[in-house]
């Protein structure tokens, strides 16, 4: 019998349920089919007027209607969908009673423009709207629903009550590494023996005018709007920024011991987690690559692995000139010559950058890669960048023997997180 503990003597943490939604589709089956077919979920934005914007494309999830639109409401709907999918697959607990805590990666929440307009209108003013005037009409119960909706903890509150998770639900943000951090928190709770199961969810519904403009003002977004499907070009020489996208991912994690005891099907193992903060700059990585190197090394050490054990890297691969260069530098410093031969692909070339959700969405895709022994491609890779000699699995999916995957996530604010996923307990 395989041990229930890893090489460090900790409980092995396995995945028994997965859910995913992206601009490609809802659910694992359809997402995987489109991902390995190299399809793009990026489209021209129709949700709001794009007049005057430099970027007019995004990976919006338009097949989940939310009226009136609110990014927080969409994030909650997506989280609800993927959590339900993951719990159903795991077959754990009873309806409305998940036997463990919730860790939710979610974008910071604030009142949004459609709702701000409603409050402004309630002032009855036809000019000179101020916050003082809006404050005068805010109370009295007319906008109670806005308080509930725009608390930072609101999405987690709702999910915790829907799925009956245990204890205090944690809403977290480590920017674009949030999804990986949610998984790491879940892994740590099981390793501590606090819980036999955890529900790790990451969601993002951020494609609204202000969020898009904020990223645009930082020159982070691709402006190659035509055709939309070609906008996200990770690792290509002509890459010019990331493409904002929406989506969600969920994992049910369990101790191997608990999963085996209840006869659950094991979908994969979270073998290691690593993180390290970068103190160089608010949006840029340290030019020496050390924080990324340290993060990747921490993940390998946590998994008790050497770099040669990794068969595939699911890259952060945003398609910004800076990220992809730094990711190559960091990986090559850890993997040496192997960096040129290990397949490294970016799911973001197809689904876009799902921001707070990306780490979990890509963990699900990494587990599907292990399950199908097939690596999704990096599409839009027409012009190789000689400075980044990765095998990016260009444009077409590839069958391969994959036993261990590294999935990387890096974010503004010096956030770095890496996960190592395997098919079987080792």
């Amino acid at each position: 019998m395989t041990s229930i503990r890893d090489s460090s003597g900790r409980p092995i943490v396995v995945v028994t349920g997965m859910g995913v939604a992206t601009s490609l589709a809802a659910g694992k089956t359809d997402n995987w089919a489109k991902l390995v077919a190299g399809q793009s979920g990026i489209r021209t934005i129709t949700r709001f007027p794009t007049d005057g914007l430099k970027t007019t494309v995004a990976g919006t999830v338009d097949f989940v209607p939310v009226e009136p639109f609110s990014s927080t409401a969409l994030a909650e709907r997506l989280a609800d969908m993927v959590a339900a999918e993951a719990i159903a697959q795991a077959g754990i607990g009873t309806k409305g009673a998940f036997p463990g805590p919730l860790f939710l990666a979610v974008a910071p929440v604030e009142l949004e423009w459609p709702q701000r307009h409603v409050v402004a209108e309630a002032t009855g003013e036809r000019s000179d709207i101020t916050y003082d005037k809006m404050l005068r009409v805010s109370g009295g119960g007319r906008f109670t629903a806005y308080h509930r909706r725009y608390l930072f903890g609101s999405v987690a509150d709702t999910l915790a009550e829907t799925f009956g998770t245990k204890g205090s639900p944690i809403s977290l943000s480590t920017a674009c590494a949030s999804g990986a951090t949610a998984i790491q928190l879940g892994v740590e709770a099981i390793r501590r023996g606090e819980a036999d199961a955890t529900l790790c969810v990451a969601t993002d519904g951020s494609v609204n005018p202000e969020a898009l403009i904020r990223f645009s003002l930082l020159s982070a977004l691709s402006t190659q709007n035509e055709p939309p499907s070609a906008a996200a070009k990770p690792f290509a020489k002509n890459r010019d920024g990331f493409v904002m996208a929406e989506g969600a991912g969920a994992l049910v994690l369990e101790s191997y011991e608990a999963a085996v005891a209840r006869g659950a099907r094991i979908l994969g193992v979270i073998a290691g987690c690593g993180e390290l903060a970068d103190s160089f700059h608010r949006t840029r990585s340290s030019p020496d690559g050390k924080p990324i190197v340290g993060c990747v090394r921490n993940a390998l050490a946590d998994a008790g692995m050497t770099p040669d054990r990794i068969d595939y890297i699911n890259a952060h691969g945003t398609g910004t000139p800076e990220n992809d260069k730094m990711e190559y530098l960091g990986i090559s410093m850890v993997f040496g010559e192997l960096a040129k031969t290990i397949p490294v692909s970016s799911n973001k070339s197809m689904v876009g950058h799902t921001l707070s959700a990306a780490g979990a969405v890509e963990a699900v895709f990494s587990l599907l890669t292990l399950a199908h022994q097939r690596i999704p491609p990096t599409i839009n890779y027409e012009i190789p960048d000689p400075a980044i000699p990765f095998d990016v699995v260009p444009n077409k999916a590839r069958d391969a023997r994959v036993t261990a995957v590294m999935s990387n996530s890096f974010g503004f604010g010096g956030q770095n997180a890496s996960l190592i996923l395997t098919a079987e307990p080792t």
Binding site: M1, G153, S173, L217, D278, R282
Partner: protein
């Protein structure tokens, strides 16, 4: 390979070895102790009338954030937090200790930064006159939003700024979710240290209470204290919270780690518990009772330090819980500090650790008589936080 034994490793003891507080009452531990002894309250009933707030005391940020460029990249809540984090590192004797800071874990409880109210107002004013083009909002935001404002608002950039300014880089995690985020930051940091997943952590939060956009969010739920200030226990007929500005950070480390570097403890952080109940009548009281029972506090030399908000119905629930423990001296931080939201629980931890280290509880500040004198030295302080809408947490801070 044979199965390893399934027994859990023993829990490691965790100490509070650094405290940093900056608030409406002042800067640093001595200033706070003196203000609490004198029952001082710094409240502003005019600037945001009819709303009451506790404004930040004057701060020279240069003392902890030497580069003006860094200060400019931050909004008020980030400056307050980065400043308080620096005080905590100073207090722990770790400022500039790269060897420790590069391995120090960080969990920050955060909301977000203030919007550009002038930009919002100008857009809403123009739109209210009608006949704006479809791309009007885009055009105004593209032209009027400062590019760096985004970073000054992003929740995880308080932690990001602490990494940049103070070099705390072991890990960086930001929890969101109002009061509960502050509880969970301490809870997870302690659980990791106790289990050997971490040796030393910086935890805390910061809040800028002087913000119309946040007053608006809470006004939607009728939670703000209006018209005039009263101590928090005296608000039964006039409920609500007065937002407060402040930052509170703590350095928590394993006892072994502290001993190895010769660090002195303020207190032991023995336990942090948290829950989330649907708020049916009686539910919060029952949850607080269950949490209290799980901490098993002693019968004497024990006090309660609560972040009770003043909002209803939760304050009445908490009052009912306290009524079950009439002999235990209680202090409500909101009377003096206002409600600092994510910061309220770390602030409670900080004041509890300070009190046990000084061998005294600060005097009551309560005309209703709920808060009683404590003449003996507190050996245990239970820190309580029941969120205005969701989240109930408690911690046990003990004398070492």
């Amino acid at each position: 390979m044979v199965d390893a034994p399934s027994s859990q490793p023993p829990r490691r003891e965790a100490w509070v070895t650094g405290i940093g507080i900056a608030s409406s009452l002042g800067i640093g531990l001595d200033a706070h102790w003196e203000a609490l002894e004198q029952r001082r309250v710094n409240v502003d009933e005019k600037s945001f009338a009819p709303f009451i707030i506790h404004p930040m005391a004057p701060v020279s940020f240069d003392a902890q954030i030497p580069k003006k460029g860094d200060q400019r990249q931050m909004e008020a809540w980030q400056r307050i937090g980065t400043f308080a984090a620096g005080l905590a590192l100073d207090s722990a004797g770790l400022k500039g200790n790269t060897a420790v800071l590069s391995k120090m874990d960080m969990i920050v409880a955060a909301g977000g930064g203030e919007r550009d109210l002038a930009v919002d107002s100008a857009i809403l004013s123009a739109e209210s006159q009608g006949n704006v083009a479809p791309g009007f909002l885009n055009e105004r935001l593209m032209n009027d939003l400062r590019p760096t404002l985004f970073l000054a608002q992003l929740s995880n950039l308080l932690a990001g700024n602490i990494a940049i300014v103070h070099g705390v880089t072991g890990s960086s995690r930001t929890f969101m979710g109002e009061e509960a985020a502050g509880v969970d930051a301490a809870r997870i940091a302690l659980a990791r240290i106790a289990a050997g997943q971490s040796d030393i952590a910086l935890i805390g939060a910061a809040h800028n209470g002087e913000r119309r956009d946040m007053l608006m969010l809470y006004e939607f739920g009728d939670f703000n204290l209006k018209s005039h200030y009263e101590p928090v226990w005296a608000r039964s007929a006039h409920p609500g919270f007065a937002l407060g500005s402040g930052g509170a950070f703590l350095v928590i480390e394993s006892k072994d780690h502290a001993l190895a570097r010769g660090a002195k403890p303020f207190a032991r952080l023995s336990a942090v518990v948290a829950d989330h109940v649907r708020r049916a009548p009686g539910a919060v009281k029952a949850t607080l009772e269950a949490e209290w029972a799980s901490l098993r506090p002693r019968k004497d030399h024990v006090a309660i330090l609560t972040g009770v908000t003043g909002a209803e119905p939760v304050t009445s629930e908490e009052r009912a819980f306290l009524a079950e423990h009439p002999d235990v001296p209680v202090r409500a931080t909101s009377t003096m500090f206002g409600h600092t939201m994510e910061t309220q629980f770390p602030l409670g931890l900080a004041l509890a650790a300070l009190s046990v280290s000084r061998g005294a509880l600060f005097p009551p500040n309560d005309p209703t008589g709920l808060e009683i004198e404590m003449t003996e030295a507190p050996h245990q302080i239970v820190v309580v936080e029941a969120g205005h809408w969701r989240g109930e947490g408690m911690a046990l801070v003990e004398w070492v």
